[in-house]
């Protein structure tokens, strides 16, 4: 008979939460920087 897989779902949840926080956090930071750079005196691109 095959043994039950180990119960370690809390590690899975922790890893997915941490990865999401890093990637979403990085995107939000880029978005905020873009807003700052382009607020008011928007440079004309070349």
């Amino acid at each position: 008979m095959l043994a039950e897989p180990p119960r370690n779902g809390e590690y899975l949840v922790a890893a997915y939460v941490v990865a999401t926080l890093i990637l979403v956090g990085y995107w939000v930071r880029l978005w905020q920087k873009a807003r700052t750079v382009f607020s008011g005196q928007a440079p004309r691109g070349t």
Partner: protein
């Protein structure tokens, strides 16, 4: 709307699409990919850890290649691309270096071990954090580009060692099961989820690089305008 703003907006949109794709990867990995019998649910960390690692190493390799080309051609676009790629690489490395120990704890019984693969990867992360710190510290654009190109090339030289470290040294880290000379040793459903996740991470990489590139160009133009005024 100037091309700078357009590049940045497209980058933000592409990376947002990548984040939505990431949500899709979570659904696919958790709901439609089998649970590995020996490792249990923790094995599903694989679908984040491995694509993040591949993209981090890809990003740092491209930093090195762009840096070589910059030293040869002196085209500021190559320097800008290298810096944008290094930024994205550091973000993906952060994912790799946090999800790795969380996966290691239930499987190896320890969060970390100072073997060649893990130690070299940590050094690579620190090296590119240093690369970004160097760029922030040097204000002359041509000096900044030259100095950081040298660091970028040195960083790239670590990448093949990291890939081969599992063959060269005794390590707890498993050997490659996809990027190896023979066929991938993964069941088809797991391979499908892994490849979809890799595609999503690559979309994120492209979006991050485009956004960062547009931001740097915009900041350079603002500085030029200030100096001229």
């Amino acid at each position: 709307m100037g091309p700078t703003r357009r590049t940045m907006r497209r980058g933000l949109a592409l990376s947002l699409l990548g984040l939505l794709g990431l949500a899709g990867v979570y659904v696919l990995a958790l709901g439609f990919t089998p649970i590995e019998a020996r490792q249990g649910l923790a094995q599903k960390i694989f679908y984040l850890h491995v694509p993040a690692a591949w993209n981090a190493l890809l990003a740092f390799s491209l930093v090195g290649l762009a840096s070589i080309l910059y030293l040869w051609l002196h085209d500021p676009r190559l320097d800008r691309f290298a810096a944008a790629s290094a930024n994205a690489g550091v973000a993906f490395s952060a994912v790799m270096l946090t999800t790795g120990p969380i996966w290691a704890k239930p499987i190896w019984g320890t969060w970390w071990t100072w073997d060649a693969r893990l130690t070299l990867t940590l050094f690579l992360f620190f090296l590119f954090v240093g690369y970004l710190a160097l760029r922030a510290a040097v204000h002359d654009p041509s000096e900044r580009a030259r100095f950081s190109a040298v660091v970028g090339i040195l960083g790239m030289l670590l990448v093949p060692f990291i890939h081969l470290s599992v063959y060269l040294f005794r390590t707890l880290h498993p050997q490659p099961i996809v990027l190896k000379p023979s066929a991938p040793s993964l069941p088809p459903e797991m391979l499908r989820t892994l490849l979809i996740s890799f595609t999503v991470f690559t979309v994120l990489y492209l979006g991050f690089v485009m956004t960062r590139y547009g931001l740097m160009l915009a900041e350079e133009l603002q500085e030029e305008a200030r100096d001229a005024g």
